[in-house]
């Protein structure tokens, strides 16, 4: 048992976030709407402080095994908190433009980030559940934040109801695992199922996978994704599409690889099916979409399939691949949503494919960004998405999962069609009218993401690979 100061040092990033959120809440509650700007800046500062604390903090496990601070958690937290800070920036500016600023928005993002940090550090089924719930509750509220907008309210409600259902599945699985393994700690569960899990525990793992698949929006548990992405405010979607996915994927990896290392063969089958369905369904269903937010939702389903393939490999290499994939994917998807955020016509957001016609003549810079990011998500070398997929397929093939890797390749070729259609519409179709001036913050994020994905990635890949390998080693796999 560790002493109190040791426990505090290990959980420092989360403590910074929790205390910061409480203080900012008080500042907002007593300062009124005038203090929204201050609270937003403070939230950004708190998130960055959390990321720094996670990067340089000590490693270990505390709170009776409920909280694990290892390299994998630190890796995930740095990116989660960083992308949450981007979410605060985009959301705050956007609300200001809508004249709907409220200090609760940045505070809720900080609390959601806190939940994600707890997910990344969960060493116990209880902390797993509480982390997931903290993050999800904050996201439900953020989705319905503009309550006068019927579509946003519907998105929030849908997300809430289906999220509650998935929490039920998750809890059912967790209680079965607890019942059959005799402990809620991953370490003890691993010891109990060393020689392969029994019927009951496997039943529990399958439910756990279903619940978590829901949170990462993997098929066949993705049905909420298109509706929520379409209805929720775009900056919220930019946030929901990136950081929570990373947290849930690390949680996925930790629960399965640290909790059930003796039963790899048993959960691998389930994961392979989920990954294949996600890749296939995301690619096919995306073809019919005319709304770009819905299209990006299906694109995220496909991409989560690739990331799950990394975990399904069950090896060190697979986890490294998953981590690299998620980082590169987060940058791509945040960039694409920032592009959507930057484009308005007559004060209305441009969301359908037809709106994008002739964009290249009006906004060549943003059109170029969207083109580059689309090429990246498609997986055209040497853009970021290519390296991400390269890592995952390499790991999957090394683990003997080559049929599913080939299937993934085919799915990515199918999915390439809808990105190419966006590019064609932008560059070759006639424009229907003028677009509004694009706000600096969204344009800045879009350009930064595009620059990274289309060039800097080659330089960043080497250090990223080193850090991801270090993080994956935390799971002690072969």
């Amino acid at each position: 048992m560790m002493d109190f100061s040791g426990a505090v040092a290990l959980a420092l990033p989360e403590i910074i976030l929790a205390v910061g959120a409480l203080i900012l809440l008080m500042v907002g509650a007593f300062g009124g709407d005038k203090s929204t700007g201050l609270v937003s800046v403070g939230s950004g500062g708190v998130l960055i402080a959390g990321a720094v604390a996670a990067a340089y903090g000590p490693l270990g496990s505390t709170f009776n095994g409920g909280f694990v601070a290892d390299n994998a958690a630190a890796f995930a937290k740095v990116f989660i908190y960083g992308f949450s800070a981007v979410g605060v920036l985009l959301g705050d500016r956007w609300l200001k433009r809508m004249a709907a600023s409220k200090f609760e928005f940045p505070v809720l993002i900080v609390i959601a980030a806190l939940g994600m940090g707890m997910m990344a550090s969960a060493g116990d089924l209880i902390s797993l559940y509480i982390g997931v719930e903290l993050q999800s509750l904050a996201l439900y509220v953020l989705c319905a934040f503009r309550r006068d907008d019927a579509k946003a309210s519907e998105a929030g409600l849908k997300y809430f109801v289906l999220g509650a259902l998935s929490s039920g599945l998750l809890l059912y699985g967790a209680s079965l695992i607890y019942g059959f393994a005799g402990s809620t700690k991953f370490v003890d569960i691993a010891a109990a199922v060393q020689a392969g899990a029994g019927q009951g525990a496997i039943f529990g793992v399958v439910f756990l996978i279903c619940g978590l698949a829901f949170k990462v929006s993997a098929a066949p548990f993705h049905m909420w994704t298109p509706d929520v992405y379409e209805g929720a405010p775009t900056p919220v979607v930019a946030f929901v599409a990136a950081a929570p996915k990373m947290a849930a994927m690390v949680l996925f990896a930790r629960a399965l690889l640290q909790g059930f290392p003796g039963a790899v063969g048993q959960w691998q089958q389930v994961l392979v099916v989920v990954a294949a369905l996600s890749m296939g369904w995301g690619a096919l269903a995306g073809l019919r979409q005319r709304n770009l937010k819905r299209l990006l939702a299906y694109s995220s389903v496909t991409n989560i399939g690739y990331a799950l393939l990394g975990i399904a490999a069950g090896t060190d290499q697979g986890v490294t691949a998953m981590l690299v994939f998620m980082v590169l994917y987060m940058i791509d998807t945040t960039g694409l949503f920032a592009c959507l955020l930057a484009l308005n016509r007559d004060g209305k957001p441009m969301e359908t494919l037809a709106d994008f016609a002739g964009l290249a003549k009006e906004k060549p810079g943003l059109a170029l960004c969207i083109t580059g990011l689309s090429f990246s998500v498609m997986g055209i070398p040497p853009f970021a998405g290519f390296w991400a997929k390269f890592y995952v397929f390499k790991a999957a093939i090394a683990a003997g999962l080559w049929p599913i890797a080939v299937f993934g390749l085919v799915a990515s070729v199918v999915a390439a069609f809808y990105y190419l259609r966006i590019i064609k519409t932008m560059w070759f179709d006639p424009s229907p009218g003028r677009t509004d001036a694009s706000p600096l913050d969204a344009r800045g994020v879009a350009v930064a993401a595009a620059l990274f994905s289309c060039g800097l990635v080659v330089l960043a890949l080497n250090p990223l690979d080193t850090v991801a390998k270090l993080a994956a080693a935390a799971f002690h796999l072969s």
Partner: protein, 204 residues
């Protein structure tokens, strides 16, 4: 027959009778009051089992919060309970089957537990018998489980923030109480002396 057995039979009879009252009372308010009575007697049964923490929880949470909420709902919503009762006879057979299945299940589980004892070797921490169970829960809740306890507090905070963000509206034209104004009010500010002419009355 010792005192414990007498207490058990008295409490169980009241529990069963009041539970019957919940479903048979004509007035929904009476149903809720019967429900509260059955909660109280069930809490008494828990005390007999030596689970005084559960007994307190039952009273604090179910009687104090849930049942009172039921009362609010029953009194505030205009639910026609007469119409809900329609078709009672029609659904009686299927309801009876479900009830019978439940009874059989309960008897089976109870006899199995009675014969073999509850599942053993579950790896759960051994119960220390040197302290009442409230104290034992307190011991682990604020030591081993402090992280989960605090984190659950954050979840509740989010629920509160969410409820306020999504429902609180500052409508214009709503009169609010200002204690400061009320306290600072003097007779000079709040009163006006009007000379009323006889037979004319006042109008304003």
């Amino acid at each position: 027959m010792n005192l414990q057995a007498i207490a058990f039979y008295v409490l169980s009879v009241i529990t069963v009778v009041s539970a019957l009252g919940v479903v048979s009372a004509r007035n929904p308010v009476h149903s809720v009051l019967y429900l509260i009575l059955s909660f109280f007697t069930a809490a008494g049964l828990f005390v007999l089992l030596g689970a005084e923490f559960l007994a307190m929880l039952l009273i604090v949470v179910y009687v104090g919060a849930v049942a009172v909420l039921f009362l609010f709902v029953v009194m505030m919503l205009d639910v026609d309970f007469g119409s809900l009762r329609e078709g009672f006879v029609r659904y009686l057979p299927i309801g009876g089957v479900v009830a019978a299945v439940l009874v059989v299940e309960m008897v089976l589980v109870a006899t199995a537990v009675g014969e073999q004892g509850a599942a053993k070797g579950s790896g759960a921490p051994d119960i220390l018998l040197d302290a009442p169970n409230t104290e034992q829960i307190g011991r682990v809740l604020y030591t081993d489980y402090i992280y989960f306890f605090q984190a659950a507090g954050m979840v509740l905070l989010v629920a509160m923030i969410g409820a306020i963000v999504l429902t609180l509206r500052h409508r214009p034209g709503v009169k609010r109480q200002s204690v400061m104004d009320q306290v600072a009010r003097t007779p000079a500010k709040g009163m006006r002396i009007v000379q009323v002419k006889t037979g004319e009355g006042i109008s304003e």
